[in-house]
């Protein structure tokens, strides 16, 4: 039987392109000290560290986690790095959960940082994740990989560029309320549609920025949590699924074999929902923090999370269902479209979900939110994680 686990401390830096004022470990240290202060804990009270770090080529130093041992206070403690590409932060949070649910530890620090501003070549780096004999040679990157998802969703369900643009408009509007967000500028539907084509159907304002920044989350067992605070955020359910490496194998229409759909996330969410006792997510989830660095991905995600029927994500977006004033607000933080520090973007979703259910999300707070879901995706859309976080145990 798994022990109960709570999130008891959160630290985020602001997200921005350049952080030339700090080295990578110094950036990590900023988030750790903020999280410790938030939890009213000292570094000595942390028993183990999970380091959230996606491909190190983005920061240009291999095995960068080594540099950060001191910045996370790991000397003399167990330390592990987690990497599932874009899903890294979601997987790291789950690894943190396992540390405590398993009863091996009472406190764990989950932390990481991204410093993409040190290179102008993010997409060249992401091209390196593919097989050099096949996909790498035909100029694949994270953007056109998402375009393939978008065109299949458009073809299958009639999803439109306008509906995708509405996702971007919503996220940009929400980000105005988030002091940590990288892009804090409202955009109109016309702005998105008129922005330059990057990889059709994705245009510049359908795409995330290259962000630098750090995020830290401290988790604790129920016993330790009760001594620390009155209003923790409880991790109620987790799920993770992986699909095949080959995108070309997912050009079929059946379950798990359509690159246009996110049946993998649906399966991860189903597991998390079952653990959390959620049978009707559209009613029982109050707010969602979805990892969608491209507008089209959020449409596939809301469907996979059971917020609307499959194929209806675009239509529900049009109706304002996911707006701050809608039935189920999505990404009050502005989401990955407005801040994408890749190594921790999934962890930021967990942190933002925890802030929401504890009523600490300030200007971006969804009124009365008690239960949230946080997701992450990585690789060529094949790693998926979901975590349900609630004010109530």
């Amino acid at each position: 039987m798994a022990r109960n686990v709570a999130i008891v401390g959160i630290g985020q830096t602001n997200y921005t392109t350049l952080r030339n004022d700090v080295t990578y470990p110094e950036l990590v240290f900023e988030a750790v000290t903020k999280a410790l202060s938030d939890a009213s804990m000292s570094i000595d009270e942390i028993e183990a560290v999970v380091f959230s770090l996606a491909p190190t080529s983005l920061v240009g130093v291999d095995a960068m986690e080594r540099w950060c041992i001191d910045a996370v206070g790991a000397k003399g403690k167990p330390f592990m790095r987690v990497n599932t590409g874009g899903a890294t932060g979601g997987s790291a949070a789950q690894a943190g959960y396992f540390h405590i649910a398993s009863a091996f530890f009472d406190t764990v620090l989950v932390v990481g940082a991204e410093k993409q501003g040190d290179t102008p070549d993010t997409q060249l780096i992401l091209n390196q994740i593919w097989d050099p004999r096949f996909e790498r040679a035909v100029a694949l990157n994270a953007i056109n990989m998402s375009s393939f998802q978008a065109v299949r969703h458009m073809h299958k369900y009639g999803t439109t560029e306008q509906q995708m643009a509405m996702v971007s408009v919503r996220d940009h509007k929400n980000a105005l309320n988030n002091p940590h967000a990288h892009i804090r500028q409202a955009v109109s539907l016309e702005d998105v549609l008129a922005s330059r084509v990057v990889c059709w159907p994705l245009k510049l304002l359908d795409c995330c920025p290259r962000s630098s920044g750090a995020c830290a989350v401290i988790m604790a067992s129920e016993g330790r949590t009760r001594k620390l605070m009155q209003r923790p955020a409880w991790i109620k359910g987790i799920g993770a699924t992986t699909n095949t490496y080959y995108m070309g194998d997912k050009m079929e229409t059946e379950m798990f074999n359509d690159h246009g759909d996110w049946d993998e996330l649906a399966l991860a969410a189903e597991h998390a929902y079952r653990m959390a006792g959620i049978s009707n997510p559209a009613k029982q989830i109050d707010v969602a923090e979805i990892y969608g660095p491209f507008s089209c991905l959020e449409i596939a995600a809301v469907e996979a999370l059971g917020f609307c029927p499959k194929g209806q994500g675009g239509k529900f977006e049009e109706q304002g269902f996911f707006n701050m004033t809608g039935e189920l607000p999505v990404n009050p933080s502005g989401g990955a479209l407005c801040s994408n520090p890749i190594a921790v973007t999934g962890l930021v979703r967990v942190a933002e979900a925890a802030l929401q259910v504890t009523g600490r999300a300030e200007g971006r707070q969804v009124n009365g939110a008690k239960t949230a879901v946080a997701t992450a995706i990585g690789g060529s859309l094949q790693f998926h994680t979901a975590m349900v976080i609630s004010a109530n145990l």
């Binding site: 997409q123 004999r133 096949f134 040679a137 035909v138 100029a139 065109v151 990889c199 050009m251």
Partner: protein
Amino acid sequence: MMKEKRELVSVPGKWDISFNYAAGKTVSHFLAQIRDNGRILGMKCAKCHRVMVPPRSFCERCFVPAEDWVELGDEGVVEAFTIVHDVFEGSPPPPYAIAYVKLDGADTALANFVDGLDLSDISEATQRLKIGARVKVEFASRREGRITDFKYRIIG
């Protein structure tokens, strides 16, 4: 005390590392057939009969070795595509189109560049380059045993 504005220093760096990515027996045969005979081969799983390209020495669905080569058609159908209009370092100068195509006889789709389309007007280009469109494989006259030895061309 007066706060002094201090300079921020950056140290330049570049990763320049050589690899010779071994293609292995299976992919080597696939690439040599493209180079020498202008043929695209798929690998058929003896258990589920799925024809896989890129070829691989095992079927991950049945979790058994695979070793039955089959020749694929030189035409196929577009399953996904994009038209790239932005500059990416290390990638060709834009615009260019990439498509996943399920070649006749294959159960999986293979990514490659699409040639012979005017990509300057996207709404016109997407009248022809769309999911379901038929394409023909066009081999380069000088081939090196690379996936880029051929491109797709929309038929009709």
